[in-house]
């Protein structure tokens, strides 16, 4: 029986659990921090000594923890890239700019258990010799910012933050910085620019890799809220024990946000890879199935920028066995284990862990139009393909959903989308805005073509002339 595995959200929804320090301490709060700072230097077989901080970094590396923000990059590896020899201060930023459509996990932590995030942050800062950290929180979450500031004040008062953390001589200050309402601020270099007070234009890489030239041109670690919380648990239980959760290379737990046409939309914490997509959608412990009489049409598995899956799709996926041999497994959509690697192998991604379920009543063209509108509105406009392509696709879809479609529009959309991703843009927004279009059009081509044909026929009947003389949909912003 698939079931939730609550590690990070263990207490969050317990009756009587409050976001204050006192309650957190009652639930063994800051035990991980106290344990970590009490570690003794470890002598290695080769005679070298490992500082307690390095030991925690090693534990994180051993845990196999992968970033929960969207890219799923190894957290330990990310930390290992930090330039520690530059003589510059190292900064840590908690990316709390949760804004990928369909995602509502980080805010649960922030609202219900802010001290867990702080503990994870303090640990991560301590492990990386960071003395100044920021929580960059989405501007639309003023309540979360208030709670975090309250929690920070409590932590400062309790000697968990500020000068001489827990009497160890370690100094750390954390500030909350509120964004001003732009999706792109969730991109780590855009976030850094925004934090520095500029337009959130993502930086070019090379040379501006945050681990080397991040905030104020200093080495910087940017981690997602959930990732930082996981560090607390790794510190507590050890990297090896954490790695036993989930599946190999897809370790630990993650919070999945399920939305759309299911009976029980909500957030569910699961062991990575131990639950299938079908279970998440259909099992009473999770999504609880579709409404009566409805059939599944599509699933977006990792936030609106992930490529869509069509109901009934089958995938041939390479699986590494225990003996290291690769075998080809054929899986249908609902049997895909919900983890990082499988979803990538299936041509999409687990992204921010947001499952968007669409049943057969969904107007797929309108659904894509909605997504495209979002990305056109949120493109920062710095680099050409994304700036121009995102709005172009949105306008075409606006036209297609307002009776002005053409039979060639599916082809047209695909060609626009093909010119945006694959390293043509400065940041991954290029992929984020084009993947939905590419996948929707490829997998539901008949819906798009039918819409165009119907529009053309209706216009011909009404004597509106050939399809080339379009009554253009007005752009709302122009």
């Amino acid at each position: 029986m698939p079931a939730e595995f609550r590690l990070i959200l263990k207490h969050a929804d317990e009756p009587g659990y409050t976001p204050d320090l006192e309650c957190y301490l009652r639930h063994d709060g800051y035990a991980a921090l106290k344990k970590a700072v009490a570690l003794a230097p470890k002598t290695l077989p080769d005679g070298k000594t490992l500082r307690p901080q390095e030991q925690l970094r090693q534990e994180v590396m051993n845990s196999g923890l992968r970033g929960r923000g969207g890219a799923g990059f190894s957290c330990g590896l990310k930390w290992s890239f930090v330039d520690r020899r530059s003589g510059k201060p190292v900064y840590l930023i908690c990316n709390a700019d949760e804004s990928e459509p369909g995602t509502f996990k980080d805010r649960q932590i922030i609202h219900k258990d802010p001290h867990q995030l702080l503990e994870g942050m303090i640990l991560s800062c301590w492990a990386n010799d960071v003395h100044l950290a920021y929580i960059y929180i989405r501007g639309e979450m003023p309540g979360g910012a208030r709670l975090l500031n309250q929690a920070l004040a409590e932590a400062r008062g309790a000697g968990l933050l500020g000068k001489n953390v827990l009497g160890t001589g370690y100094d750390l200050e954390i500030y909350v910085h509120r964004g001003a309402g732009a999706y792109i601020c969730g991109e780590e270099t855009g976030l850094i620019e925004s934090l520095e007070g500029r337009r959130a234009y993502p930086r070019i890489k090379p040379p501006y890799f945050p681990a080397v030239l991040g905030l104020y041109q200093c080495p910087t670690i940017v981690n997602n809220v959930e990732t930082l919380c996981a560090v607390k648990h790794i510190a507590l239980m050890g990297g090896a024990a954490y790695a036993k959760l989930g599946t190999p290379n897809n370790t630990g737990t993650r919070i999945v946000s399920i939305s759309g046409h299911v009976n029980r939309p909500g957030y569910y914490e699961v062991e990575v890879g131990r639950v299938t997509l079908g279970e998440l959608i259909l099992d009473p412990a999770f999504g609880g199935g579709l409404r009566p009489g409805r059939k599944l049409k599509a699933v977006i598995p990792g936030g609106s920028s992930a490529k869509v899956f069509k109901a009934g799709e089958r995938f041939k996926i390479k699986r590494k066995g225990a003996d290291g041999k690769e075998t080809l497994v054929e899986l249908d959509l609902l049997n895909l284990p919900y983890d990082f690697d499988t979803l990538i192998a299936a041509g999409s991604m687990s992204g921010s862990g947001a499952l968007i379920v669409m049943d057969d009543t969904t107007d797929i063209v309108a659904a894509l139009a909605n997504i495209a509108e979002f990305y056109a509105h949120e493109s920062c406009g710095q680099c050409t393909p994304c700036r121009e392509g995102s709005l172009w696709m949105a306008k075409a879809l606006r036209r297609l959903t307002s009776g002005q479609g053409r039979r060639e529009d599916a082809e047209y959309l695909a060609k626009i989308a093909d010119n945006i991703p694959g390293g043509r843009t400065i940041c991954a927004f290029g992929e984020a805005c084009s993947w939905p279009v590419q996948s929707f059009v490829a997998k539901f081509k008949e819906d798009f073509v039918a819409r165009g044909v119907a529009d053309e026929e209706r216009r011909a009947k009404a004597g509106a002339g050939p399809s080339t003389t379009l009554k253009l949909a007005a752009s709302p912003q122009s």
Partner: protein, 572 residues
């Protein structure tokens, strides 16, 4: 006790570290470090390596003198690096060459450093398709108003569309509309619909000028270039943004709708507005000057120039230019004459002048050659000489406190005092005391120096050469109409001692004649100097006579000029 085993430092200059890369299959050795936008050594980029290989990578936002932005994506190229085995050692092909692993993602050539044995591909179908894609994106919301756009003919959007674009548009939507004819500042008009948002202008004014006055507002495709609210874009360098704007978004109010650029003849010249000597191109058609644009010279102005200097050309075409040879009639009033008669009269007058009775006020706006000839004349006449200083305020970039273009030349020739103008009180005193009976003035208004008109009227002879009328030219006994620099050839020496030449862009007005020609004839008559055989010969003779010019010849100056060999005594 341990003894040091470190090798002694190698003698000689440090070797320039280099690496080999392949551009479209051709191997080329490039230095590991190349100058970045500030001239500081930085890892050599792909675009620099391609340039060294003679391969042009199209680009909009990249400018060698601006910080890299990487936003236009026009310079995307494909590349590969040596494939590494599990042992991190390069894998070899069966023929012993390095196996290259092609990167699955392209890279922007402007920002990506090269690495040893990297291969850069700029002609692959993938690259071609990316360029087409970028151009299509740039054009969908562009107004395509080339027929009424000043940039047409020197527009990167036009050029790359021809070279890399597609013929037909598949855009079936409404274009984004943005502000047009935006009055950005006193000298610039902005058309936001033409703007491709490359941010060159923003980076220029922020990072080069230090005036963070421009920026983008709005988001996505609605991004709009604008100036700081309530503050016009007005510094002394704003027009450079029109130069570096790759499209017709920023246009100069002065040049707007004046002339299609393909009709303009471009003549290498120099700015005469201060001692920096910015290199420029005069754009002219049918003997009329339409614009100055900066000409790149690393040793002087990089690729910029100030607005004041750039717009300082209108006087060349002024209607009241001096265009006639004139002599004052013995009975009063002017008598228009011709050059032979005028020069004969002046020669005679000067030949008669007693030694020590002549004063010569030269202009530091004259060329080295002219000042050289004047110095020869002054020696022959035993004249008291100086030139007129034009002090101003220097700025942090190009404008220099010395507003004469050739003070250094005037000092090197021995004509001008150090500091410039230190002799002027003595000349004035000589005029007042009656000791000076003949005054020769080139290009200056001596009445502005305190020489009263009555004083001039008392003199035996007032010989004046100038371009534009002034109270002094009105009082001259002999008036020699001269040429603007744009109407002749010659050289100036800037405040740092760089000798630079300029070429003739337009014909002189009326009877006006280059001063060096006039002076050659006077020097022949008075000093017995021969004919120099044009400006080249004159320069070469000067270089032989004046120690500071040792080793220089007209042809050695090239387009970028050359430094004087002697250190120039600093001007206090």
């Amino acid at each position: 006790m341990s003894t040091s085993t470190a090798a002694p430092p190698k003698a000689g200059p440090p070797s320039v570290e280099s690496l080999t890369v392949k551009v479209d299959g051709r191997a080329i050795v490039v230095p590991k470090l190349s100058p970045d936008w500030q001239g500081k050594p930085a890892p050599t980029t792909m675009i620099q390596a391609c340039e060294a290989a003679g391969v042009t990578v199209p680009h909009y936002c990249y400018h060698p003198k601006l910080p890299v932005a990487g936003n236009c994506r026009m310079c995307l190229v494909e590349f590969g690096t040596p494939a590494l085995g599990p042992d991190r050692k390069p894998i070899l092909n069966p023929d012993g060459t390095l196996k290259i692993a092609k990167s699955p993602r392209p890279a922007i050539a402007c920002a990506t450093p090269v690495s040893p044995n990297m291969e850069i591909y700029t002609t692959t179908p993938g690259v071609k398709q990316m360029r087409e894609g970028v151009l299509e994106f740039l054009l969908i919301n562009h107004p395509l108003d080339c027929p009424i756009c000043d940039q047409a003919g020197e527009c990167k959007l036009q050029e790359y569309s021809v070279e890399y674009g597609q013929a037909a548009s598949r855009f079936a939507e409404q274009k984004v509309h943005k502000p047009k004819q935006v009055d950005l500042g006193p000298r610039l008009i902005l058309d936001d619909e033409r703007c491709i948002l490359c941010s060159r202008c923003i980076r220029f004014t922020r990072d080069i000028v230090g005036d963070d006055a421009l920026g983008f507002v709005n988001r996505g495709s609605y991004n709009t270039l604008t100036h700081y609210p309530g503050r016009p874009f007005d510094n002394n360098y704003t027009l450079n943004t029109a130069d570096i704007c790759p499209v017709g978004a920023l246009t100069s109010k002065d040049f707007r709708f004046q002339m299609r650029v393909w009709f303009l003849r471009e003549t290498p010249s120099l700015c005469t507005s201060c001692g920096t000597g910015c290199n420029l191109l005069i754009g002219s058609r049918e003997d009329r000057i339409y614009r100055y644009v900066p000409r790149e010279n690393e040793a002087v102005n990089g690729c910029w120039m100030c607005d004041a200097g750039r717009l300082n050309y209108g006087w060349v075409g002024r209607r009241d230019r001096l265009t006639e040879c004139r002599m004052r009639h013995p009975k009063g009033g002017w008598q228009v004459t011709n050059w032979p008669a005028l020069l004969a009269a002046v020669t005679e007058k000067l030949a008669q002048a007693a030694p020590g009775s002549v004063a010569l006020i030269a202009s530091a706006r004259q060329t080295n050659e002219e000042l050289y000839l004047l110095s020869r004349l002054a020696t022959r006449l035993g004249a008291l000489t100086d030139a007129v200083p034009r002090p101003g305020q220097a700025d942090h970039l190009l404008v220099c406190a010395d507003r004469n273009p050739n003070s250094t030349g005037a000092r090197v020739m021995g004509l001008a005092a150090t500091p410039l103008g230190a002799n002027l009180p003595r000349i004035l005193e000589g005029l007042r005391s009656g000791k000076v009976k003949t005054l020769v003035v080139f290009g200056e208004d001596v009445t502005a120096l305190g020489v009263e008109p009555a004083l001039l009227a008392r003199l035996d002879a007032v010989i004046v050469s100038d371009i534009l009328p002034s109270p002094t030219t009105e009082l001259a006994h002999y008036l020699l109409p001269g040429c603007a620099h744009a109407e002749k050839r010659g050289t100036f020496t800037n405040v740092k001692g760089r000798v630079q030449k300029f070429m003739k862009a337009v014909e002189p007005r009326g009877d006006a004649r280059p001063e060096w020609e006039t002076l050659t004839e006077l020097a022949r008559g008075l000093c017995g100097l021969g004919n120099f055989g044009g400006i080249e010969g004159l320069f070469n003779q000067m270089a032989l006579d004046i120690p500071a010019f040792e080793g220089l010849t007209w042809s050695k100056l090239g387009d970028g000029g050359a430094n004087l060999v002697l250190p120039i005594p600093p001007q206090p």
